[in-house]
């Protein structure tokens, strides 16, 4: 599975915001860094096909050889994790995972139970997401995305809201699972520690390499 961004440019009112070509190999984490307002979130919005009105986009996005540029969000097979977990508040933990699992998949209960076990949340199917801790909720959100069977993973500062001890554990947890499944990952962040932990190339929204401060 490979994610290819081919000569992607995004402009707003004629002003260029993003100009990027890149190739993310299976299991590789590409980090896009920059201060807030630099167009990182715009890049992710463009990749998932949710660019707000007022932006213009050119170029192509290829996932696994499929041109997904013109597809609606639900058909792109791009998993996304936000700064907040965005678990659906009206569904149980198991219900949220079931929402992610495609309808045709058999043995749903077993898969959901295994996913919870993998996230160290065994037996929590019926829990109210609001009753979980921040770290537990973040893990449920990741599992929900992985169960939907994405071909790539987009991370929109998903560790920013976690406290520092939790942040390191959660990074390892996410990257390890993405690597295990061979998913190309695009991580957007302003935290250089995220970029160091990701271990892959680090660029800005113009595609220029960003030098990380030495540890």
């Amino acid at each position: 599975m490979t994610l290819i961004v081919d000569d992607l440019t995004i402009t707003r009112a004629g002003q260029p915001m993003v100009a990027l070509s890149c190739r993310v190999a299976p299991g590789e984490v590409l980090t896009v860094m920059g201060p807030s307002g630099s167009g990182k979130s715009t890049l992710l919005a463009a990749l998932v096909g949710a660019l707000p009105g007022g932006f213009r986009m050119a170029g192509r996005v290829l996932l696994n050889g499929r041109d997904i540029t013109g597809l609606p969000t639900h058909a792109r097979r791009l998993g996304i994790l936000f700064q907040d977990d965005i678990l659906f508040p009206h569904l149980s933990v198991g219900g949220n995972l079931g929402f992610g699992l495609p309808a045709r998949v058999p043995e749903r209960d077993r898969l959901i139970a295994e996913a919870l076990e993998d996230a160290d949340l065994a037996g929590m199917e019926r829990r109210d997401p609001a009753s979980l801790s921040g770290g537990q909720r973040a893990r449920v959100a990741l599992m929900r995305t992985l169960l939907s069977g994405p071909d790539a993973l987009l991370l929109d500062e998903p560790f920013a809201r976690l406290d520092s001890a939790l942040r390191a554990r959660m990074r390892a947890f996410v990257f390890e699972r993405a690597r295990r499944r061979g998913l190309p990952v695009v991580l957007v962040t302003h935290d250089s520690a995220d970029a160091v932990a990701a271990g892959g190339p680090v660029i800005d929204v113009q595609g220029r390499p960003v030098a990380l401060p030495s540890p």
Binding site: T73, H74, P89, H90, S92, D128, T145, P150
Partner: protein
Amino acid sequence: MARLGLLAALTVLGLPVLAGLAGVIGPAFGYLPALGGQAFSLEPWRGLLAWPGLAGAVRLSVVTGFLATLIALGLTFLIVAAWQGRPGFAWLTRVLAPMLALPHAAAAFGLAFLIAPSGWIARGLSPWATGWDRPPDLLIVNDPLGLALVAGLVVKEVPFLLLMTLAALPQTDSHRSLLVAQSLGYGRTVGWLKVVAPRVYAQIRLPVYAVLAYAMSVVDVAVILGPTRPPTLAVQILDWTTDPDLSLRFQAAAGSVLQLGLVVAALGVWRAGEGLVGGLWTRWATRGARGVVADPALRRLATGAAGAVGLAVGLGLAGLFLWSVAGLWRFPAAWPEVLTLRTWAGEVVALGPVTGQTALIALGATVAALVLAVAALQARPDPGRWVLALIYLPLVVPQIAFVPGLASLALVLGLDGTAVSVALAHLVFVLPYVVLVLAEPWRAWDHRAGLAAAALGARPARVLWAVRLPMLFRALLAAVAVGFATSVAQYLPTLLIGAGRVGTITTEAVALASSSNRRLIGVWAVVQMALPLAMFALCLLLPALLFRNRQGMRTG
């Protein structure tokens, strides 16, 4: 699909109003082929001008409209200015919300019972203070100046404007503005009035226009509380419209056009007044008076105003209930000598079918409104100026100006007198409220939930049904409660479109207004208020019950 829904919603809002207006403008100038009016004529206007009560009715419409609107708006601002951010405020808003579900007619009956010469106020003061041992022969209710009518409108419009103000507050940055004003040394109430009030007013301008138009042209409240000889213009128009002498229809249509003109002119005057008051307000605000000394007095005044409104409604409704179960109740006793269910037992056979019919019509109109509102919001989450104006159109154009025209059209098309056509007529008034209740939560919904669902592979329809609608369940039910109450409260559309063959609790209750049988009025008015309140309670309980294990659904 959603665009189609938006179009349908706008059609529901705009078309009946325009068609109804066309349906009165024609007859007002002599054109109504069904009644033999073929040629243009000014005869209807001559008839209208020949009515001796005209000058008084016009004056009454203008005076009650402005007085009720000014008092209601003033009290609303005073209450919010003195209370926003204080501990009691949250409680106040919780008490107010169900008051919106109260039909105008029930509140008016309650007030009439309270202030009547034989009402609780007179009983409480007699005989020790007044010396009365029988109800005095005073015209307190139906007074010729229309003061009882103004009072009845104020107690019902204050809760409405308060809720509209509360909805507008988050968009005005009121907390920080108030904090800044207070840190500059301003008293809380005066600071709020100087800094926040102008911005809130800009937000609630359309609801205020709706209150002004409503107060000028209301029929059911005027039948219950307003002057009778001569009545208000709107009531007189209704009398002519429903008169067996069909030739009076032309005169009635001319009256409708006059009422419309009065409301349009009054709105123009109000608009001009906004500029004037705005200028004076700015000068007052920039003069620098801190108003710290006035603060406690203003706060007491606000508390008194809120208390008076609450008591007027609360005691009025309690009085209605008590009369419905009262046996012998002598003046000036504060309590009936005997409590009995005899009146209820006598009415139960008549109540059952009418209540069922009322509920079915209200449910039909509400469900249709909900579907249209969701479709319209899905197509256009941020209504533009024109869409917003169109939403308010049925609330600002007086019912008495276009519903008679709509009824003539329904008659010509053979669509009058069925429950479905009454529900459709209600939809015109239910839809605006449903949209107004739903619009803000719909807009405030976290769009990332939709994006997350789509990224998990959910199609747009599934995002709507499985994520957005369940997450907005509470707001949807609030819209249902308000829509249902709006439908139950409709008097004029029910009366005219129902054509005497379809009645609801409200038409039956208002029809009793001229009778002096308080026990009977009590029974019907209690049912009239209980029905929407029951729906309100259900709409509060249902989400709490369904999502009792979901903390994340407690708000929103």
